[in-house]
């Protein structure tokens, strides 16, 4: 009897320990088994090369690929963004001597081990699915890109080795030269990660903007295909976007933990972490629209029809949704800054109330202009009354000149919020502080006026002049402000006296929800623009080269696509929550025995822990 119970206990223990793995493996086998059964059906009848396979019972090959590819891409963005985020935090900790930054960096690096595995899992599933569902396309791409496949594999090996050294060597490389070497490892990790990102980018961008492949060695052909016109714009855009994703996901994690924090110490810590995450997210978000502008410019240069499909064709309404998401993201990021000024800096609430209100009004007005559609959805009768599909008053805001102007103004306002938060609770002591402050104010004012003037002027010049000169000038003006005001403020703050200490852990619960909202907006934006990039190829697997002749050659309407975007965003959020849970599970157990808590953080007490 006792033996029987012991045996039952062992089985229960085994199930507890391995149950999840077994279920996971069974699911994986099932997923992989479906296409295999599809192949088996086809194999009997296939006499010639098969172009497509399908599993309509599971929603069709296109939808399966859509979900898997999107999740893989989001996870990849996360695992490439986190090392950048962690490395930046480690550098800040090293330079300032504040250990909490180093601990934050370490804890986020820990996430990489489990998130790499999940990303690779989805990458493997995606590869099997692509080979199974789209054999003709994959044969073509393999023929063109095979050498880069090998480089990709080699990079993964290097990245893995570097990650092991970076993670396991953290505690033995804490001081002196060893720390410098550790920072170098972090740099290497990011270099390899960058190349791991840009190689698949070359495959995807080749599909959208292929170049003709002449004869030559495999390497020469792969190289020619890699250097396609949209490769670098996408590389730069994705690199910045990954930083934004990493930052806002850190913020969202901190937000969730802040909401469920039980002690004042925990609240302080996660409040601080949310601040760091939001800071890095906003830091990356400011230059992101410029990279997007460059990408669209290259798309137009490459193929005007593709540009028109995106901006003026069936995808034009997508950019209204994009404006809405970016607008909410800007509002969310600014709102979090404003809450920080109000709650973390005692006495600052009244002082900053007016500027905050002014900035809120400007942001809302800008968002209204950005979201104004070029043509209205109107019935024939309504259109007749309006005298066309353009609104008689607001129609003027529906064109690119207005949208570029407000996008730049929103970036300026967000940057202003950031500078305001930076300076709050401090008093400048430098002798040249008055001149510097006047210069900063003047720069913001002049920049805003010039951007508006160029925007209005843009209505009266040919489109090519506006695109090539005016829009570029607007972007350069904003960049100039960012690049001059940031170091100037840093110099001012170096000698500034703190008048009011920042108090952590006093933010209201809505601050936590604002952080979660920001992360969801960024993820939704990535899914939305992924759909845009893919749909701009319309009925081509490789634009103008290989036609999609499958039953799924059409691009679905926005509503249908948005359902998939929401689904993918939700699954991704749950996966990331799972990864965080798994990564911190052991720490919680240790914390219960008096060891270091899950995440290192903001309080002095936590700083003293090693």
């Amino acid at each position: 009897m006792r033996n029987h119970e012991a045996s039952r206990g062992r089985v229960r223990g085994w199930l507890d320990a391995w149950g999840l793995s077994v279920v996971g493996l069974a699911l994986l086998a099932g997923l992989l088994g479906f296409p295999v059964s599809g192949w088996a059906e086809d194999a009997a009848s296939a006499s010639a090369a098969v172009s497509y396979r399908d599993i309509p019972q599971l929603g069709g090959s296109r939808n399966i690929i859509w979900v898997i590819a999107q999740l893989h891409l989001l996870l990849a963005g996360f695992v490439l963004g986190v090392p950048i985020f962690a490395w930046l935090c480690e550098i800040v900790g090293w330079k300032t001597g504040e250990k909490r930054y180093d601990k934050l960096a370490k804890e986020f690096t820990k996430l990489l081990t489990s998130s790499y595995a999940t990303t690779a899992l989805f990458g493997g599933i995606l590869l099997f699915m692509l080979i199974g569902f789209y054999p003709k396309l994959m044969t073509y791409l393999t023929d063109v890109f095979f050498p880069s496949f090998l480089v990709y594999c080699a990079l993964f090996l290097l990245e893995t080795v570097t990650l092991y050294l970076y993670w396991y060597g953290w505690d033995v490389m804490l001081e002196g030269r060893a720390k410098v070497f550790h920072l170098f490892l972090g740099f290497l990790l990011n270099v390899f990660a960058f190349f791991i990102m840009i190689i698949p980018n070359s495959w995807a961008t080749f599909q959208a903007s292929p170049v003709v492949i002449a004869e030559g060695s495999s390497l020469a052909r792969a190289w020619a295909a890699t250097w396609n016109p949209t490769w670098w714009p996408v590389n730069v855009h994705r690199l910045i976007a990954n930083v934004v994703l990493g930052g806002f996901i850190c913020g969202a994690y901190a937000g969730v933990r802040y909401l469920s924090a039980k002690s004042a110490e925990e609240r302080e810590h996660y409040d601080w972490m949310g601040y760091v995450g939001n800071f890095i997210g906003v830091f990356g978000m400011l230059p992101l629209p410029f990279a997007g502008y460059w990408l669209m410019r290259e798309v137009y240069q490459y193929n005007q029809q593709m540009g028109i499909t995106l901006m003026g064709g069936f995808l034009s309404w997508l950019f209204i949704l994009q404006a809405m998401l970016i607008g909410v993201l800007f509002l969310g990021a600014n709102y979090y800054f404003w809450l920080g000024i109000t709650y973390r800096i005692p006495g600052a609430e009244m002082k900053y109330r007016r500027p905050i209100m002014a900035m809120l009004v400007i942001l809302l007005l800008c968002l209204g202009v950005w979201m104004t559609p070029h043509s209205l959805v109107a019935s024939l009768e309504e259109a007749r009354k309006l005298g066309g599909t353009h609104h008689p008053l607001l129609g003027v805001f529906g064109v690119m000149s207005a949208k570029m102007t407000v996008a730049n103004l929103m970036i300026l306002v967000t940057f202003m919020s950031f500078i305001m938060y930076w300076r709050a609770g401090k008093e400048e002591t430098a002798t040249w502080a008055k001149v510097a402050k006047a210069l900063v104010g003047g720069l913001f004012g002049v920049a805003a006026i010039v951007i508006i003037v160029l925007g209005v002027w843009g209505y009266f010049v040919p489109a090519i002049v506006r695109i090539n000169y005016f829009s570029v000038a607007q972007v350069l003006i904003v960049l100039f402000v960012l690049l001059t005001v940031t170091p100037l403020t840093a110099l001012l703050m170096k000698t500034a006296r703190t008048t009011t200490e920042m108090v952590w852990g006093r933010m209201p619960p809505r601050a936590g929800y604002a952080l979660v909202l920001n992360a969801v907006m960024v993820i939704l934006l990535m899914t939305l623009m992924g759909y845009a990039r893919s749909s701009s190829r319309v009925h081509w697997h490789i634009y103008g080269v290989m036609r999609d002749s499958s039953p799924y050659a059409y691009s679905p309407a926005l509503g249908y696509a948005a359902a998939f975007m929401s689904l993918n965003t939700f699954i991704f959020c749950m996966l990331v929550a799972f990864i965080f849970w798994v990564a911190t599970m052991g720490d919680k157990a240790k914390a219960g025995h008096g060891a270091t808590p899950a995440m290192a953080g903001g309080s002095q007490e936590l700083d003293t822990h090693k």
Partner: protein, 232 residues
Amino acid sequence: MSEVVLLQLIGLGVIGVGVLILLFIQSRFPRVIGFVMIVLGTFSLVALSVPQMASLPPAEEKFDVASIKTANDMAMIGQKIFFSKGQCALCHSIGPSESARCPDLKGIGAKLSREFIYESLTQPQAYIYLDYRHEGPPKDYPARMPHINKNPIGLSNNEILSVIAFLQQMSGEPITVSPSEIAMPGQPVPVSATIPARAPAPPSPAKSKAKGKTKKADAGEAGLVAMVVHGR
């Protein structure tokens, strides 16, 4: 029930579940999930409220030999091949273009003989065009011309002749390719459709340069300023 209505109902349902979670569950993590569900459901509903336009693929073009009766028919098919299977428009423009990575083909049918065009398509390294659209010495164009009759493009002889017909028609020249040169399925290629191994150099005024191997092609009305290097 239409797809849009169904999706709207799903969106409303997701928002409803999110609201119920926020109303009745106090645990923080499920509340955050409820909040995310409300955000995602709202996004879906907004996306369903804008015009729902799908992009349907156009009918696939087939090269139907039987349908070719005149040279104009050939030119029409050639035009389709130029912009699709032939991938010519990936690099070449018809008219000046800043972004074109290869010579502008406007008026090319008037400048070059059909034999020379055929050779340019099937033996593209025989004469190399260099880019003179800038100060200083000429440069190679960014893209290298592939053998158009070999993989991956692999145009058939019929298709190449059709493209030549299109280039000639587009340049306002009489089409010198005849439908009789089109090979019917299972038949050998007509003798007239084959091209001499070495086509004559461009019929434009060419100036001999170093060792007689470098020839300058006609600048041309369309701005095709190029250098051809024989046998490079």
